[in-house]
């Protein structure tokens, strides 16, 4: 086994960084070294930013987003269209849709999708919160923006059934050819869905 080249504090920093997505032990070592070499310009401000985030960040009790206030900035924004609620699997999906900027609406983070293999049932997801929010008379449409996977779409159908009694229309994201997608690399299901929902040019 290779002997550690740094003290225990630095080794701990490396170990913690290596747990982050996209970083392995080698890249965590490089990131640690970059932080240590830019101590005043990077390490100290990063540590302070992380300390503040750890102290102030809360989960929004309305939608499940993370922010420094509850309700979060998205839920508290009065300019958003209150008639549309977009259901997402987790916060990263909410952020992705916000980056797209296609709709200026509100969201609901489910906290996962139904998965028999992972033991995730309806009670592990915030479905009760979604139903309560969808009962708001201002809500007219619920867009189920869940992954185009079997688990994601099983959850979408489950939500459609759960919302069936409410006076809201339930829609889901379209499935089709992604930008940059070459047809001969696409699976038959995606091609079939794209052909069935073709549009006039």
């Amino acid at each position: 086994m290779a002997r550690g080249v740094a003290g225990p504090e630095i080794e701990r920093l490396i170990q913690l960084l290596a747990r982050l997505p996209g970083l392995g032990p080698r890249s965590a070592r490089r990131a640690s070294l970059a932080l240590l070499q830019k101590r005043e310009g990077l390490l100290v401000p990063l540590a302070e930013a992380m300390r503040v985030a750890a102290e102030r960040v809360v989960v929004c009790s309305t939608c499940g987003n993370v922010d420094t206030s509850d309700p979060c900035a998205v839920c508290a924004d009065p300019s958003r269209d209150p008639s549309i609620l977009v259901v997402v699997e987790d916060v990263s999906d909410l952020w992705a849709l916000e980056r797209a900027g296609a709709l200026h609406v509100r969201y609901h983070v489910l906290g996962g999708v139904l998965s028999a293999l992972d033991g995730i049932g309806p009670e592990q997801l915030d479905i009760a919160g979604l139903i309560a929010r969808a009962q708001d008379p201002a809500v007219r449409e619920v867009i189920v923006a869940l992954p185009a996977t079997v688990d994601g779409q099983t959850t979408a159908h489950y939500l459609t059934e759960a919302l069936a009694e409410l006076p809201v229309s339930v829609t889901r994201l379209a499935h089709g050819v992604p930008v940059g997608g070459e047809l001969d690399y696409l699976d038959e299901g995606t091609l079939s869905a794209a052909l069935k929902r073709r549009t006039a040019v």
Binding site: G22, A116, H157, E188, G189, T190, A193
Partner: protein, 252 residues
């Protein structure tokens, strides 16, 4: 160790950032797990979806190891299945049922029934009867096969109308009449004559419901109760939906 086989994807559990542990029902090697590098990447994400049929090459240093799968899509049907509630509930129920099988125990006959089912799960006319046939095949592979070929009392092969709830053997209409209230109805589409004999017809919604009630009884008695398990919740939704779909199509 290395083998190549065809399999149906039953599930995939994420592992790390891009890999997954994939569960297959293979034709010759039974229910089998394997590690798949890059399973969540662009090339393989659509392949490791449940319901797809894949060509799998399994490799490991020893037989005891989980090993790794190399996968290539053979029939990528999960995209089509996603559009149908009936198909998704059927897929979830089928996968849950197959997890009652011990790992690496080959069941080629059950593989054939499972392949037939997933190939037609989005067909509301065929899926309900194939689902019943799959559950009967599952019972048979688990050692609780029903004998629906001849009457347990007379040996007759005609006019089979009942099934004994204890022995799982068919009983003809006349011979079973005195015990009719204790016997389970046998819908014609589950008998050889009803399927292929003269005047064979597509099963009615009531017959589909009777077929499901039959498999429900024996699954509960032979599979769920002994293991302390419950029927998968998707099965209840599937049964309601299948019967309702069959009814609406027969009305149309």
């Amino acid at each position: 160790m290395e083998w190549t086989d065809q399999g149906i994807v039953l599930g995939a559990r994420s592992h790390g950032e891009s890999a997954a542990i994939v569960e297959l029902l293979t034709r010759e090697h039974g229910r089998h797990l394997g590690y798949v590098n890059g399973a969540r990447g662009k090339r393989l994400a659509a392949v490791v979806q449940p319901g797809n049929t894949v060509a799998a090459t399994w490799r490991a240093r020893t037989d005891e190891q989980m090993g790794t799968f190399g996968l290539e899509g053979v029939a990528l049907r999960s995209g089509a299945l996603m559009a149908s509630r009936l198909a998704l509930y059927g897929l979830a129920t089928m996968s849950a049922h197959l997890r009652h099988l011990p790992e690496r125990d080959p069941h080629p006959a059950l593989y054939v029934a499972a392949e037939a089912l997933v190939s037609h799960l989005d067909d509301p006319d065929l899926a309900p009867r194939l689902f019943v046939a799959f559950e009967l095949a599952l019972l048979a592979e688990l050692g609780f096969g029903l004998d629906l070929g001849r009457c347990a009392l007379t040996g007759a092969e005609d006019d089979l109308a009942w099934v004994s709830p204890r022995s799982g053997r068919a009983v003809s209409r006349d011979a079973g009449a005195p015990w009719a209230d204790k016997l389970l109805p046998l819908p014609p589409f589950l008998t050889a004559r009803g399927r292929t004999g003269e005047g064979a017809q597509d099963p009615t919604p009531e017959e589909i419901a009777l077929g499901i009630a039959l498999t429900s009884h024996f699954l509960e008695r032979a599979v769920f109760a002994p293991s302390g398990a419950q029927a998968p919740p998707e099965r209840l939704r599937l049964v309601g939906l299948a019967v309702a779909t069959a009814a609406s199509r027969s009305e149309a």
